[in-house]
Each structure stands twice: as structure tokens, then as C-alpha cells.
């Protein structure tokens, strides 16, 4: 039990992201409202972003910008002093992707709403069945 709690505490960042992600996933599967599903999707994507960003952390590292800027060629840069920039770069991309997906999803949602005047999936399906 002690080990378990230790593991839980030492890797709490992963637990948090997984919990968040599962909330998103659950919303996407279980929710009936199309917009709530989109919200779930965003939570899901954000959780992954959190996960990636947490990979980049280094204890004792600072943000990945070299302080002295130009003229610092003589200055020796140690990798341990700066956090890992790569996950941040990747997540910039992921953020953009999630924004783009959100845009398209909303556009689709609007089209559905204009046609059926509701965003509840079961109501839409029953309207389709009636036809």
C-alpha cells in the first residue's frame, strides 16, 4: 500500500492527465448532446497536451530560451539547465490541430442544427427515422 501511494504521488501528473482524458472520452461516448461531445473531445485533446508538456519538465531546468541571446557563442549551454523544448513544439501543433478540429466540428454542428433544430442526437435520429 505504501508503495502504491508513493507511486501515486510520484507520478501524480500522469494520474491527473489520465483522469481528465477519461472524463473527455466518457463524455464523447456517453453524452447525447452533440456540443457536449465536442466539449468532451476538447477535454480529451487537452489532456494529451498536458501529458506531453509534462514530459518536457526537468527538475532544475528553466524555460527554453537562452538568456543572453546573440553574442552568447562563448557561453556554454548545458542541456540540464533548460527544459525540453520538443514537447512544447509538438503541443503547439496539437493545439492548432484541436482548434482546427473544433472549428470544423462546430461548423458541422451548425449545419445539423439548421436542418433539425436540435442538437440532441436521439431526437435527430428519431427525426431521421420518421422520414
Amino acid at each position: 500500500m505504501g508503495d502504491f501511494i508513493q507511486a501515486l504521488v510520484a507520478k501524480y501528473n500522469y494520474w491527473i492527465y489520465i483522469t481528465l482524458m477519461m472524463i473527455g472520452l466518457y463524455a464523447m461516448i456517453a453524452k447525447n448532446n452533440l456540443i457536449k461531445k465536442i466539449v468532451g473531445m476538447n477535454i480529451f485533446q487537452t489532456a494529451i497536451i498536458l501529458f506531453y508538456v509534462s514530459i518536457g519538465v526537468k527538475k532544475g531546468g528553466t524555460l527554453p530560451i537562452i538568456e543572453h541571446g546573440h553574442g552568447a557563442h562563448s557561453h556554454v549551454v548545458h542541456a540540464v539547465d533548460y527544459i525540453n523544448p520538443l514537447p512544447h513544439v509538438l503541443m503547439l501543433t496539437a493545439i492548432v490541430v484541436s482548434v482546427a478540429t473544433l472549428g470544423v466540428a462546430l461548423a458541422l454542428g451548425i449545419r445539423i442544427y439548421n436542418r433539425y433544430h436540435t442538437l440532441e442526437e436521439d431526437e435527430i435520429l428519431s427525426q431521421i427515422r420518421e422520414k
Binding site: 510520484a10 507520478k11 501524480y12 501528473n13 500522469y14 494520474w15 489520465i18 483522469t19 482524458m21 477519461m22 472524463i23 472520452l25 466518457y26 464523447m28 461516448i29 456517453a30 447525447n32 509534462s54 514530459i55 519538465v57 526537468k58 527538475k59 532544475g60 531546468g61 524555460l63 527554453p64 530560451i65 537562452i66 538568456e67 543572453h68 546573440h70 552568447a72 557563442h73 549551454v77 548545458h78 542541456a79 540540464v80 539547465d81 533548460y82 525540453n84 523544448p85 520538443l86 514537447p87 512544447h88 513544439v89 503547439l92 501543433t93 492548432v96 490541430v97 482548434v99 482546427a100 478540429t101 472549428g103 470544423v104 462546430l106 461548423a107 458541422l108 451548425i110 449545419r111 439548421n114
Partner: protein, 275 residues
């Protein structure tokens, strides 16, 4: 469906948590992620690209190819929203509403009727469209500062957090704020739909075109070193400048796309007064 969702979510979560057992401890500087590929970015960024902000150098140079597609993703989202929503031919409504800006009086104009030639009227779509002078004025005052700051963010991306995406979003936001505080028509009058769409394509084209230019100059795609003779600098600085050119492209594209998506989504493609 709820039970299924719960089961799936719990199972997936359990699998993911199970895997964390073999993960390195959080923030461990000796973890593979911190020791395998990334040290080069940190240690060589100045030497190889002359950009102190590693996120910028990785984003626009080491992994610049990703970023090009990232911009393309945004661009395709813009085109997608346009394709899905935009309605061109609309029936002219029976009567149009115009509001006299200074007095707040609403005039109904029947189909075929004309309005006295005056700049004091604005077109509105519903009677209850609010008329809020304070918000309008405040936003109008704020917008220049937002835009100025956005330009700074783009330009200073080499040395501080920032870059094309962040700056582009701010630029876009400035126009969106205008559209929200006034109405969409006002914003579109400032930045025509066609111009916006062309800017959108141009922005990404600048990025991909820079890459292709390197190709034409005999180097690999997106290898900015090839630009050195054109820019009249040494290859390392050429990389730095190349990054800057590309960031400008990203900024334009992101700005234009944000506005494009907003206008289409907020007005359901009708390009009327919007929200």
C-alpha cells in the same frame, strides 16, 4: 450507452495507468526524453540557427516541416468551414432593418426600397440587436494596442515566448473583437471576405513557398541555408531570417483563418451581423 462509455473509459484509463509504472520519474533530467534527442536543440540552437528561443528554432527550423503542415491544418479548417457553411445566394428578405446610429431609431425598408444616402445608418438583422456604445468605444480603443502587441509577439519570437501562431491569433482576435462589439458587417467591411481568404492562402504559401525556394536554390526542402546568397548573410543567419519569414507567413495565415472561421461559424455562413 452510459455504462458502455464508463466501461470503455475505465478500461482505457487502467491500461494507460498500468503503463506509467515503467515511466521515468517526473522531471527526471536523465530520462530518455531529456537525454536522447532534445539536448542538441538546447545546446546547438545558437550555433546552428542563431535563435535563442529553442521552441522557435525547433518549431520553425528543426521540425519546420511539421509546422508547415500545422499551418496547413488551420488553413484546411478555414476552407472546410467555408465550404460547409457559406451560403451565397440568399433570398432578399421582405424588409431590411436599419438603425440610426446616433439616435438608435430603427427603420424598416421594404423590398426594393432605398435608404437615404447617409453614413449614420447601420444594417441590423433583428430588432433586439443591442446597441452598446460603451463596449463599442472601448473595443475600438483597445484594438490598435492588441494589434501592436501582436506584431511585437510575431517579431520578437526569436528571443521571447511568441511567434507566428501566437501573434497571428492576437491579430485575428483584434478583428474578431471588432466583429463582436460592433457587428460582423463592420468587420467584414474592414477586411473583405475575398481579401481574407486570399491572405489565408498567401500566408501558408509564404511558408511552403520559402521551402520550395530552398529547393529551387539547390538545397533540401525548407533548408534555409540556401537563402544565404539571396539575403546576403551567412548561412546561420540565413536560418534565423528564414525562420522569421516563415513566422510572418504563419502569422498572416493564422490571423486570416481565425477571422474566416469566426465569420462563417458566427453567422452560419450568411455573413450578416453575426452573433
Amino acid at each position: 450507452m452510459k455504462i458502455t462509455g464508463l466501461i470503455i473509459a475505465v478500461l482505457t484509463g487502467a491500461l494507460l495507468i498500468y503503463a506509467t509504472a515503467d515511466f521515468p520519474a517526473w522531471g527526471d533530467p536523465a530520462s530518455p526524453a531529456s537525454t536522447h534527442v532534445s539536448p542538441r536543440y538546447i545546446e546547438k540552437t545558437i550555433e546552428e540557427t542563431a535563435v535563442p528561443n529553442m521552441v522557435t528554432s525547433v518549431l520553425a527550423d528543426y521540425r519546420g516541416y511539421d509546422t508547415m503542415f500545422e499551418t496547413t491544418v488551420i488553413f484546411s479548417a478555414g476552407v472546410a468551414c467555408f465550404l460547409l457553411l457559406r451560403i451565397f445566394r440568399r433570398e432578399e428578405p421582405e424588409e431590411r432593418l436599419y438603425r440610426h446610429v446616433l439616435t438608435g431609431v430603427t427603420i424598416h425598408v421594404k423590398k426594393g426600397g432605398k435608404l437615404p444616402p447617409s453614413d449614420d445608418f447601420e444594417r441590423i438583422d433583428t430588432e433586439w440587436t443591442p446597441h452598446d456604445l460603451i463596449i463599442k468605444t472601448m473595443c475600438r480603443l483597445l484594438i490598435p494596442f492588441i494589434q501592436l502587441f501582436a506584431l511585437y509577439v510575431i517579431a520578437h519570437g526569436h528571443h521571447s515566448p511568441g511567434g507566428g501562431f501566437q501573434g497571428g491569433v492576437m491579430l485575428g482576435a483584434s478583428v474578431i473583437v471588432l466583429a463582436m462589439s460592433q457587428d460582423l458587417r463592420t468587420a467584414v467591411r474592414r477586411l473583405r471576405e475575398k481579401v481574407d481568404a486570399l491572405l489565408c492562402a498567401t500566408g501558408v504559401f509564404i511558408y511552403a513557398g520559402t521551402g520550395a525556394l530552398c529547393l529551387l536554390l539547390g538545397a533540401d526542402f525548407l533548408n534555409y541555408r540556401a537563402l544565404a546568397p539571396l539575403l546576403n548573410v551567412d548561412p546561420i543567419m540565413a536560418r534565423s531570417h528564414g525562420i522569421f519569414i516563415v513566422e510572418i507567413g504563419v502569422g498572416i495565415a493564422v490571423m486570416a483563418t481565425m477571422i474566416w472561421i469566426y465569420s462563417n461559424v458566427s453567422s452560419s455562413g450568411k455573413y450578416d451581423e453575426g452573433l
